[in-house]
Amino acid sequence: MERAPATRSAEERAAMAERLIRGRGIEGAIVRAVGLDGEIAAIRAPSECIGRLKELAPEVKALGFRYVAFDLAAVDERFEDDG
């Protein structure tokens, strides 16, 4: 699978990943590029979708992420924005 150009901004990669994941049936998923250089796709989605997200991980990585992760804020009852 061909990787996306490294010059693509973190915001662009996050938006593309979000479209990809929503397009595969996980509606309402939110993706942020976090980490030292936006190397992590942090996904907020229902926890029951983790198995499906694991299946999609190679496609998300192909957008220019090194790691695909589930944002624990998604299941925190005292949900607050990490900023």
Partner: protein, 282 residues
Amino acid sequence: MDRALTVDEKLTRLTGILRDLGSVCVGYSGGVDSTFLASFAVEVLGAGNVLAVTGVSASYPAVQRETARDCARRFGIPHLEISTDELDDPSYAANPSNRCYFCKTELWTKLAAMAASRGLAAVLDGSNADDAGDYRPGMLAAREHGVRSPLMEAGLTKAEIREASRRRGLPTWDQPSAPCLASRLPYGLAVTVERLRQVEAAEDALRAHGFTQFRVRHHGDVARLEVAADEMPRAIDRAAAVRRELKALGFAAVVLDIEGYRQGALNEGLPLVQLRRTAVAG
């Protein structure tokens, strides 16, 4: 040729190597390999001819230190702890991909001097036959200081060392591998005492929640958790508490890696981080 040898035959070979050396100083972390080596050396050479030495610094987890102390006490291994100052070395602190070389240079320099001052014939490490093909810059430092690797020389694999440890009643036989805390920082992110303490406290928190095989990877203000596949449900179940506890340690966000725990995961980003090394270190 080693594939054809049984574990017992390899242990016989190990016995011969140790007898030829006569007296040894073992680099002892309390991990699977060095604990087996130190206890086996005591069995073969007698406690008077063995000294197990642990290098202690902020990169060495306290929980591992307790294991090392406990095993030394229980199995009659003469044990000494010394401070190592690898964090004072700018080459180490910059966290290049060969960081282990600088750490081990500090350790083996001190152990070689100690062995010489005590009249011990050789300094040993716990490298095993499986380590031979890995990217391990620390092994270069060992070779430069004349450190011997008798487990590797005897052809013993990790699985065989675990089995031999189990047969000897060593509690480390099924212990997960435990590299130093700096291994949780991506290459290029400076190694600092503060970051190491964050990682250690975060991993202590996960251990308290019952996780057994996991890592907390430090990505600046993000903690990325890797847990074993069979512990993913627990991670989801404890997500809220874990997130709050890790945020209290200074992480702005806490995320769970979808792919779970895997050794060497930070090497996945090695080429990019090497390019960015001077840009992100600090």
